[in-house]
């Protein structure tokens, strides 16, 4: 089925900017009928933006998409569907209480009789599609009663009902068992031999290498490599994703750090599907990085340490004593803080003032008389002013509504929220996401100063350059396990990426 000459779908010069950041730069892509096309790249390299453009969710600034040589305009998801493109995202957009047939036919024109839906006729169409993907469960079952693997089959059948010529799959095996994964691979190969193109997005490079007829590598919003089957091995692919062979990041050496007794430790922590077995130590005065891919379990570990989620097994220790992570207030009282990943939804009260947001975590300490519930306006103001100064938050004053500040200054206010003498360990989840380069530098300076003051700071970042330049030590997670640890000069972007892609299910690479 594969024609080497003319591509079925072509993308030419696709570019997209998000508020000053170039997410995609002049991307070209060819997809042939009946091929499995792997898309790889680090977090934020541009794969998702490309897919979103093809799906009609994001409108590109520039670029042309053609199918069979004719230009198609994809302005809305409907257009993508009409063009024969189907998209299966990780979160599987299914209606939970509908059965499989209803889900497959959702939004399609159903066969009708006397103006009412003719379910028997409609069912036949769904059943045909279900058979192609080898569904062996009743289509009358509600989707929320199906396993994740079965839901994937429903999603693929849903695409086939719509006569899709291309199906894009985002991290399909992320929540499948090995057995289920290999079943899915068989289906993918069958579909491809029937002429359906598969756009396969995954961080699991072994799978990508195994399945793909062609691989396109993204880095920093650009296509940096195109390979055909057999052109690259895993090592080469990692190198292509990382880009620079070795980068001597401008790491700020903070001098020797005494690592004799750990300040805070995670011991064989496990919870849910995301965190399987994570152990690490944090020492007084160091900046520890938690690296890994999105979904490796980094955010989850931080939330566990902070008492925001429940542990299945394992423990956390603070200064040698077990911290029962029962609740967030207990963690806060013990001296643990978390600057959450989603600044706006999890951190800020946007309608309130800067001072208010800075003080909201430590209200009790700002009472005018300890023991009485009344707040001291003077104490609140003094603390806010002091922290605004210390963290160089650019604001007209503590009474400014925080929604009006830049992202970087909002982030500094969230860090300020936790600063008090009792602070011992501070987790910062993606502290410089979405802030400009200047603010990023200031946030890094603030984190280093915190560490200088003896706080154990743990920085979670998907940006390997940030980890390499900021951290004294980096622990890398992969699929819920620790895949390696890098100290001092060992920390390079390449090594972090290599460890991020390490398959840890068989016991880890290190």
């Amino acid at each position: 089925m594969q024609s080497e000459s003319a591509a079925w779908l072509t993308v030419r010069g696709l570019s997209k900017q998000f508020g000053g950041a170039q997410a995609l730069t002049a991307v070209d892509l060819d997809i042939h009928r009946g091929e499995v096309h792997g898309l790889v790249g680090a977090n934020g390299a541009g794969k998702s933006t490309l897919i979103r453009c093809l799906a009609g969710v994001t409108t590109p600034d520039e670029g042309v998409v053609t199918i069979d040589g004719e230009e198609v305009k994809i302005a809305a998801p409907r257009d993508a569907e009409d063009a024969g493109l189907a998209f299966i995202h990780q979160e599987l957009n299914l209606v939970p209480h509908f059965n499989a047939v209803q889900n497959m036919l959702l939004g399609t024109k159903k066969a009708t009789r006397l103006g009412l839906i003719d379910w028997r006729k409609s069912r036949r169409k769904a059943a045909e599609a279900a058979e192609r993907v080898g569904v062996n469960f009743s289509l009358d079952r509600r989707v929320d009663e199906l396993s994740v693997a079965e839901r994937w089959l429903v999603m693929i059948a849903k695409a086939l009902v719509r006569d899709a010529n291309m199906i894009a799959m985002d991290e399909p095996t992320a929540s499948l068992s090995d057995n289920e994964s290999s079943q899915l691979f068989d289906i993918i190969r069958d579909l491809a031999s029937d002429g359906v193109a598969i756009l396969y997005v995954s961080h699991r490079l072994d799978e990508v290498l195994d399945l793909s007829d062609r691989i396109t590598v993204f880095r920093d919003g650009k296509v940096t490599d195109r390979e055909v089957r057999g052109g690259l091995d895993k090592r080469g692919l990692v190198r292509a994703i990382a880009g620079r062979e070795v980068t001597a990041a401008a790491r700020v050496d903070r001098g020797p750090i005494v690592r004799d007794t750990p300040l805070f430790s995670a011991r064989n922590v496990a919870a849910g599907r995301m965190v399987k077995d994570v152990s690490f130590d944090v020492y007084r005065g160091e900046v520890l990085g938690l690296g890994g891919l999105v979904g490796a379990g980094r955010t989850e570990v931080a939330r566990l340490a902070f008492g925001a989620d429940k542990l299945d097994s394992g423990s956390f220790e603070l200064e040698g004593k077990p911290v029962p992570p029962r609740s967030v207030p207990a963690a806060v009282n013990a001296g643990i803080g978390l600057v959450p990943e989603e600044r706006r939804s999890q951190g800020l009260m946007l309608d309130k003032s800067v001072g208010w947001n800075i003080n909201v975590g430590v209200l009790k300490s700002l009472r005018s008389v300890p023991g009485l519930p009344f707040m001291s306006g003077a104490k609140s103001r003094t603390r806010a002013l002091g922290l605004i100064d210390q963290l160089r938050i650019k604001t007209p004053g503590p009474n400014q509504v925080i929604g009006g500040l830049s992202g970087g200054n909002q982030q500094k206010a969230l860090i300020a929220r936790w600063l008090r003498p009792e602070m011992k360990v501070l987790f910062l989840d993606e502290p410089s996401r979405g802030v400009d380069i200047g603010a990023r530098q200031e946030i890094h300076d603030a984190i280093r100063r915190l560490a200088d003051d003896g706080v154990g700071t743990v920085v979670i970042s998907s940006d390997v350059e940030e980890l390499a330049s900021l951290c004294d030590r980096v622990v890398v997670l992969s699929e819920g396990n620790v895949s390696g640890e890098l100290v001092g000069d060992e920390i390079t972007e390449n090594k972090i990426i290599e460890l991020s892609y390490a398959h840890t299910d068989q016991g880890g690479d290190e």
Partner: protein, 338 residues
């Protein structure tokens, strides 16, 4: 509307932004001060049209006296709305408390000084129950409080089936009819004290700050170490106490415990609180605003009766105010964000 929009777009740069800014400023001002202007306008118009009946000290005291019960129950409701929840049981709680207090004092001959605090405590317990159902059992607040309220109606029915032999003692009547302070009716003083306490809690204590945090961004509040559930339960308990107090005052005013006597306060309270959220602040619930909302409704009703509007006009006015209030507060929020 569409035509003007496109026309505006056709005009060149700075002029558009200027006109838009002016329009938005106008809308922000309207939504922030609209209620206050409305209240002032009503007072001025009524005073001019009826200087001898409306514009008199007794009538003003009368308006305040009538508002005080609504203000107390509405202030309690404000607390639950501040933490982002609802309490639809307050009217029923008030009715139930009114029955209960008369029963305790007149039938069981409890002293007023024991009966009244006991009923307030029961109000707190009812509110705590609602809060527990909403936070720990995670029942939607609308359903939980509607359920609690309906159960109370039934319990009240059963309770009132017992004959109340003795009359209500004079000292209970005196709670609402007495004038402890230079001729000001007691309900007004009680209202001022309650509102002051709630205002201080909301604005001057760490508990109040936590309540505002929970209402502002519950996830952020949780991740700041605030015990979100406790804060919410406190808000429900406060609403329960305020509702019970309103019920007690109503019974004292009526001289008896009547079934469903205070049910109607629910709607008045909601109208007042939403009107208040569009006052001075952009769609935020707060005590001073609630008081303004209550006064708007009271002055409006007073005017309606002075000018002899037919009775059917009262529910129309009340319903219209409620819709207008929610509309205004939604607008206020939207234009504050824009």
């Amino acid at each position: 509307m569409n035509a003007t929009l496109t026309k505006e777009k056709a005009v060149t740069g700075p002029e558009i932004t200027d006109r838009h800014r002016r329009r938005r400023l106008f809308l922000v001002l309207l939504s922030r001060y609209g209620t206050l202007v409305g209240l002032a306008a009503m007072i001025v118009v009524f005073s001019i049209r009826s200087p001898t009946t409306f514009l008199t000290l007794p009538n003003f005291l009368n308006i305040l006296n009538q508002s005080s019960l609504t203000a107390i129950i509405a202030a309690g409701l404000t607390m639950t709305l501040v933490v982002g929840e609802f309490d639809l049981s307050i009217g029923y709680v008030a009715s139930f408390a009114g029955l209960l207090v008369v029963g305790f004092i007149a039938r069981d001959s409890l002293p007023v000084l024991i009966g009244v605090p006991l009923v307030l405590l029961i109000g707190a317990a009812i509110g705590t129950t609602s809060g527990f159902l909403v936070t720990k059992v995670r029942i939607n607040a609308v359903i939980a409080t509607l359920g609690v309220g309906t159960i109370l109606t039934g319990v009240g029915f059963a309770y009132s089936a017992f004959p109340i032999a003795a009359g209500v003692p004079a000292e209970f009547i005196q709670i609402s009819l007495g004038k402890l302070l230079v001729g000001i009716p007691n309900p007004i003083i009680i209202m001022i004290v309650v509102l002051a306490i709630l205002w201080i809690i909301l604005n001057r204590t760490d508990l109040g700050q936590k309540m505002q945090a929970v209402g502002g961004n519950i996830e952020a509040a949780r991740l700041s170490g605030i015990r979100v559930d406790r804060v919410k339960i406190f808000a429900f308990a406060t609403a329960g106490v305020c509702a019970a107090l309103t019920g007690i005052l109503l019974s004292s005013l009526l001289g008896s415990g009547t079934l469903a006597a205070a049910d109607g306060y629910l709607l008045d309270a909601f109208a007042a609180v939403f009107l208040g959220s569009a006052t001075l602040r952009d769609g935020e619930f707060h005590i001073v605003g609630t008081l303004v909302g209550v006064l708007i409704i009271a002055v409006g009703f007073n005017g309606l009766s002075i000018f002899g509007a037919p009775t059917f006009f009262q529910p129309i006015f009340k319903g219209a105010i409620l819709v207008l209030a929610v509309g205004l507060s939604t607008l206020a929020r939207r234009y504050a964000k824009a």
